[in-house]
Symmetry: C2
Subunit: 256 residues, 2 copies
Amino acid sequence: MRIISIANQKGGCGKTTTAVNLAAALAQTGQKVVLIDLDPQGHATLAFGYAPDHLEQTIYDSLRNPRICLYDVIQSTNVKGLVLAPSNILLSGLETDMAFVHEREFLLLQCLRSLRRGYDTCVIDCSPSLNILTLNALVASSDVIIPVQTHYYALEGLRQLLETIDVVNERFNPQLRIGGVLLTFVEDRTHLSRDVQRQMKDFFGNLVFQTVIHRNIRLAEAPSAGQSCITYDPGSKGAIEYRQLAREIGYETRTR
Amino acid sequence: MRIISIANQKGGCGKTTTAVNLAAALAQTGQKVVLIDLDPQGHATLAFGYAPDHLEQTIYDSLRNPRICLYDVIQSTNVKGLVLAPSNILLSGLETDMAFVHEREFLLLQCLRSLRRGYDTCVIDCSPSLNILTLNALVASSDVIIPVQTHYYALEGLRQLLETIDVVNERFNPQLRIGGVLLTFVEDRTHLSRDVQRQMKDFFGNLVFQTVIHRNIRLAEAPSAGQSCITYDPGSKGAIEYRQLAREIGYETRTR
Ligand SMILES: Nc1ncnc2c1ncn2[C@@H]1O[C@H](COP(=O)(O)OP(=O)(O)OP(=O)(O)O)[C@@H](O)[C@H]1O
Ligand SMILES: Nc1ncnc2c1ncn2[C@@H]1O[C@H](COP(=O)(O)OP(=O)(O)OP(=O)(O)O)[C@@H](O)[C@H]1O
Ligand SMILES: [Mg+2]
Ligand SMILES: [Mg+2]
């Protein structure tokens, strides 16, 4: 099973939108996919129409209690081949609950062990921070996809994120590699967006995906209908570009 | 001194842009203003052209060590009457450093005590989470301004934020009140933006500021020039709207 984290501590760069639509697009290619919502905000959970506060069990239960496996908390979605491990605000308690637990960085990895047989790909939506939850995601992952908004503030935090990925790679998970950098909210008409795109390509080289995601209002509308954009408006630019991304990550391996 | 936190755990809703431009607009009305960057990302610090990693001292030093007062870490800005207490990634260490310190929620309040004489207003930029740093900001504040992007995900987290504000109000800071809800990234032409605006007004009533901030590329460009939009492009819609906000908060007290 390929495990892909969608991570960047910069808020609002398109992590949830990427996790939800990439997972749906991968399922539509025939893969069996599990989407894990590892953000206490529960936005990937909302995106499929679930009310985070009304769920009996979430990923939090499975992380805290090894006897509750992921199969017990998984919910279906309207996309064939895609299931969701939901979250809600209780997940934010993990940091304090597990403060003294030995090997707390490996909790998610242990959860995923029980899932390996039934799924091709696991996509993990992370919260806007480099805390114990995001650390768990990176420790469990084979790849990390970094969404970057084509704005000025987006450039600053990347060095910090790359350092964190290097540390995880050295100390916890030698398999972890950068799946790629995804440019989001791209606007062809503005200087700023073009400038930042150029700087990203200079800095990251061919780690930057060929596919870019343009600003597209249908991506922001889809969650209010409880669907990914892939099914909400399959002909929209947002759906087309995320299907393109699913194809691009399908076969390529990228080198630094 | 009036102390205003700009807080919302939703990432990318315009916290830093609001903190930077509101602080600059208030200073231009003749007030003496201090902007505190309480986000380890250091974006409010970047916004005024400082490189977070090259700073000798930041707000972190003053929070950790009571003998280092805020006056020691303050930097000037290009706006007359506005100074900045900068931050960088070291600030993210506060959570672990101070885990066992008694009354760790009051560290910022103690820092600000030494500052009271010289300033009219203090504006605090918060990170996208409800952690010990944001708690410190709320405990120290007289008002909290909540920027809300007019998108679907933005609605969900507000209940959580209001609950947190209520808890802070009851247990730590009876003066804390909601200064107002600021609608950001408003786009008059889209249904989504209009729908969310209506829902916000239904839910919050007159807590929603009359002033709304439209999507305006000059707001996103200004940080790359190391300036607030107020001085980068004073005639832009973004600058006009933030000056309008400064006037609106100048005299009104809002009731729930
Ligand atoms: N390409 C796009 N075009 C237009 N709107 C978008 C696009 N991508 C995301 N959005 C919208 O922008 C907002 C921010 O995106 P999203 O919530 O996915 O970011 P995030 O990184 O997950 O945020 P957080 O840091 O809070 O987790 C959302 O309201 C989303 O619907
Ligand atoms: N009204 C606006 N119009 C256009 N761009 C904007 C506007 N407000 C903010 N921006 C840009 O959108 C991005 C997100 O805004 P900002 O960084 O201020 O949000 P934030 O809430 O502080 O994010 P974080 O959660 O990471 O702290 C930034 O690149 C900023 O320059
Ligand atoms: Mg998200
Ligand atoms: Mg910010």
